[in-house]
Amino acid sequence: MSAYLFYPGCSLSGSAKAYAGSLAAILDPLGIELREIEDWNCCGASEYLTLSPLGGHALVARNLALAQRQGDGTRTLVAPCSLCYVNLAKTDRYARDDPGLGARLNDALGAGGLTYEPGSIAVRHLLEILVDDVGLEAIAAHVRRPLRGLRVVPYLGCLVTRPDLDRRWTHHERPRVFDSLLAALGAEVVDFPLRTACCGGHMTQISPDTGFTLIRRLVDAASRLGADLMATVCPMCQMNIDAYQAEMNRHFGSHYHMPILFFTQLIGLAFGSPPEALGIGTEIVSARAALGRIGIEVPAPAEPEAAAAPARRAKKPAGLPMPSLGDEDDR
């Protein structure tokens, strides 16, 4: 059993409850124990930094300070939300790089009776824990119900591989690590060119035209590639593509129907958990039909299915030889 400090983030008790529930369902088989930071506060999303950059970092620093104080025999702090992950990692990194910032943050923390030593907490995304620490082999070993036949888009979103301030990734735009994880569940993984493209973030709120354009781009590419559903590691991405898809469709007069599930839900399904226990059915764009095609029954009222666009097949290269891509590393 590996234990980690855990920063769930606000959305896991709200719009991303399914993420929390499905994560809880797979912890035991994966041998992971998550110890929630006591009395953590919101990371500020992109909003606190907008009004007060130092305040935004101080807000995050409180969580780092709480994590450092709590300790629990580990210094690794896991965040399941990509935005929380980046905020936590960035504050720590900048405080390490710039001692002046570190001193300012500790000055602020002092007002709340806290202190944080930059670098004392290692912030990692939940996905990294699963692929690096648990490992794909261990995950594959727990698969009871392979997702064979399910065409899944590995949609990683922006903030797992970027800004990568600690240089842990070789590929900031087309990493294959999420593909490998989904493949280990038996799914058919779509080679998705937009795997780290932006979902629009808070643009659905402040500039809907921009937000809908970005959502459409993703959903359109996924549909063209004949995907059954998208998999995500981020509550923000899930929210935008799931909850705003209908409004996007109205905006463009389109009829896309592209479900998006948390990767933990797919892992749970592959491990054999019942869909209800994984929060499946709480998505707005229903995954019922897609899952039904591979024999997973989701007990929920069906929604009208939009006709999926025909899959586009890559042209087979002929003529001049192609450069080889070589043995690429996953990340």
Partner: protein, 197 residues
């Protein structure tokens, strides 16, 4: 006096202000104006200036024009520009800095974006956590009342599927958090004051 006049007398004043508002390094002065940021940006099409142009304007001291620009408000902080930038400029952080200067000086080009941030931050200061229902309700009523009919089914769906909680969570150490944020604000104000005006 136009900002242009002021500029040529104090060419680096606004650059210094932006740098002071950017925690850690901004590297903005190393920009080679290649446009990788503007070419990469998913929302560049909806910006009045590209990020590169904003950096040139900062260097030129065009404070009024920069603060009036919607560019930083259209930044989604996806960091695509940041990993591609050949000069490793911390572009999203500079955008945050400009937004904070603009919101403080009351020159926001579009009240919607800053108000969303203010509502969000207000919830944090009130509860220590974000409060999705409260945020959405206040925000849509104030800025997008016409979107409400369209968005209502989604909202209802979210509620019936148990994805929106109506009771905000208040953290226990709220007083401590507020003290930290107040102290941070004071330090930030002192930093600002230290920049030669």
């Amino acid at each position: 006096m136009t900002s242009g006049d002021r500029t040529e007398h104090r060419p680096d004043a606004f650059l210094a202000e932006v740098r002071a508002a950017t925690p850690a390094a901004s590297r903005i002065e190393t920009c080679i104006q290649c446009g990788t940021c503007g070419g990469s940006c998913p929302s560049a099409a909806d910006m009045d200036h590209t990020p590169r142009a904003i950096f040139a304007m900062v260097r030129a001291g065009l404070r009024d024009e920069v603060l009036a620009s919607d560019t930083p408000w259209m930044c989604v902080a996806c960091y695509l520009c940041a990993v591609r930038c050949p000069q490793e400029i911390h572009i999203p952080d500079v955008m945050y800095a400009i937004k904070s200067i603009a919101s403080r000086s009351g020159r926001v080009p579009d009240a919607v974006a800053v108000d969303f941030s203010r509502l969000f931050v207000g919830n944090i200061r009130r509860y220590g956590r974000s409060y999705e229902v409260g945020l959405a309700a206040r925000y849509y009523l104030r800025h997008h009342p016409l979107r409400l009919p369209g968005i209502a089914p989604m909202g209802i769906g979210m509620v019936t599927k148990g994805r929106l909680g109506f009771i905000p969570h208040r953290i226990e150490g709220l007083d401590g958090l507020r003290a930290i944020l107040a102290r941070a604000a004071a330090i930030e104000a002192a930093d600002r004051a230290a920049v030669p005006a």
